[in-house]
């Protein structure tokens, strides 16, 4: 907890450096941190691998962009509407997918996100097709937008933290551990999974709306399935069983990607190797390694 406050406090200083690129990149990291933490509500805490979170991310980003640029909605209203749309999407997808398990669930979520990607690509009049939508206002200078994003991400993450540590979160962990016993504890599996889906999808929508404002454009990239893979990858690297695992590895992911792309276009290759190493040798991910290290330090100290 102290470490988290330290990181958040020190990141308050980033805008003061005056480096615009660093500021942009840090904002992006915060947004992706929320994306990963929201995704992990389903994956780490409920045992459901969604391969379609780009739907909730881009659903909100596109809604915001369309409402604000085409229909002249006020920015704040567009922001809220984007998130509401993600919440509705998550309920709809949840109702239709949550009866399935494991790979089937992943495939159904993937199918819905690909459907949305198809619409985004083809419905040019509204979505701009491959070109996307440009000219989304940010409403704030980047300097202040950074603080806005930071506040939204920290508050959202805190809410998610409270959610997964609540009684409801305990039941979700129970479902992950032993579905049958949860049923025989008098709980409807479907109902609790739907709650998880709603929280996960809605906060993914929050990150998507922030993204649209940061980039001031939305393109089909964020609705493509490869964008659904981003939180899957960072969560696997960071460790799904740790609340901050996905956050820590998002930081690593964005920075390493930024550095590698300076030298080679094949950054995915490097990441592929990293994922293999983590999945094969460090099941707990980066945070698992850190926890083990701290454990061994404590034992050594005795």
């Amino acid at each position: 907890m102290m470490l988290v406050s330290l990181v958040v406090l020190s990141s308050l200083l980033i805008p003061l450096t005056g480096n615009k690129y660093a500021l942009y990149l840090s904002t992006k990291i915060w947004i992706l941190v929320l994306y990963a933490i929201a995704f992990n509500v389903l994956f780490g805490y409920s045992g459901l691998l969604s391969f379609g979170h780009a739907l909730f991310f881009s659903g909100s980003a596109y809604t915001l962009a369309i409402l604000v640029t085409r229909l002249n909605f006020p920015l704040a209203l567009g922001f809220v509407c984007g998130i509401v749309i993600s919440a509705l999407f998550s309920i709809a997808v949840g109702v239709l997918s949550l009866r399935h398990r494991e790979i089937h669930f992943a495939m159904v979520t993937l199918a819905f996100s690909m459907l949305f990607w198809g619409i985004v690509m083809k419905w040019r009049d509204v979505t701009g097709g491959e070109d996307g939508i440009t000219g989304v206002p940010r409403g704030l200078p980047l300097f202040w937008f950074y603080y806005f994003s930071l506040a939204v991400v920290v508050l959202s993450s805190y809410f998610i933290y409270r959610f997964v540590k609540s009684d409801l979160g305990l039941i979700l962990e129970g479902i992950r551990e032993n579905e049958t016993r949860v049923q025989f504890s008098g709980h409807s599996i479907l109902k609790y999974r739907l709650y998880a889906m709603l929280v996960s999808g809605t906060f993914t929508g929050v990150s998507g709306a922030l993204w649209a404002l940061l980039d001031r454009t939305v393109t089909p990239t964020i609705s493509h399935w490869t964008f659904s893979a981003v939180p899957v990858i960072v969560t696997l690297i960071g460790g799904p069983q740790n609340f901050l695992g996905p956050a820590v590895s998002t930081l690593i992911y964005v920075i390493v990607q930024d550095i590698i792309t300076k030298y080679t276009l094949y950054w995915q290759f490097i990441f592929g190797v990293a994922i293999l190493a983590v999945v094969l040798f460090f099941r707990g991910g980066v945070m698992g390694i850190v926890e083990n290290y701290i454990d061994s330090l404590m034992k050594g100290g005795r």
Binding site: L170, R181, F184
Partner: protein, 237 residues
């Protein structure tokens, strides 16, 4: 008072009649033992009663309500609870979390029961251990505690003492007997151990090949020729 009843209940697996037209009823606050050779259909019968399986035909009534098509969690909320043949707990959660999850289905105030259940089963010092760290016997006890947390009126126990050492077995039997007295529970227990059966059962139902072979008091079952033939042959009772 009749609390639970099945009418002509049948369930087939690949043409095999696991449960074949079973009509049974259970009186409240009594302990009934369900016995029979392996494959007699005892566990399938319990799975049908508690909703883990759907019957191919027949009906199930609880307090005169037809519950044949209700999903398990709704039956639990009505007061039907169970344990499983193989310990069915949350191994990666703590003992108190294990008990808390079923308690949460009871709505506001249900959590007040947590401490009572923990001390009733002697888990005070083990409350923060992971369930996977408990001994096999304690895991079985934990599962009974979990099944009680939903405040059942009828409790189905599927071989609660299977694979347990004698000391722990007595502990479990004491708990089961106290449940009937203190919690006014109706208990249906599947059991292979005849010592257990004749110690706690007030009524014994013998199943064989999916059908009911005999149904009566322990004394009647002990003297039943048919039962001796298929099941108790060679077993000293």
């Amino acid at each position: 008072m009749r609390i639970f009843e099945t009418q002509n209940l049948s369930r087939y697996f690949d043409g095999v009649k696991a449960v074949d037209g079973v009509s049974l009823s259970f009186e409240s606050e009594r302990i009934t033992a369900l016995i029979g050779p392996n494959g007699a259909g005892k566990t399938t019968f319990i799975n049908l009663c508690t909703g883990l399986l759907k019957p191919n035909s027949g009906r199930i009534f609880y307090n005169n309500n037809d519950i044949t098509n209700l999903p398990p969690h709704k039956r639990v909320l009505m007061g039907i609870s169970r344990t499983f043949q193989i310990s069915n707990i949350f191994p990666g959660l703590t003992v108190s979390q294990n008990i808390k999850i079923p308690l949460l289905s009871g709505g506001k105030g249900a959590l007040d029961e947590l401490d009572r259940l923990i001390s009733m089963f002697g888990f005070e010092k083990k409350a923060d251990l992971l369930a996977s760290e408990l001994s096999h016997g304690d895991q079985r006890l934990l599962e009974i505690a979990m099944s009680l947390a939903t405040k059942p009126k009828i409790l189905f126990l599927d071989e609660p003492t299977a694979g347990i050492n004698p000391a722990e077995k007595h502990k479990i039997l004491d708990v089961i007997e106290s449940l009937k007295e203190d919690e006014k529970l109706t208990i249906v227990i599947v059991e292979h151990d005849m010592d257990v059966v004749f110690r706690i059962a007030e009524r014994i139902v013998v199943m064989n090949r999916g059908k009911i072979l005999a149904d009566g008091s322990p004394d009647e079952i002990r003297d039943d020729e048919k039962v001796r033939e298929v099941y108790l042959k060679g077993v000293e009772i």
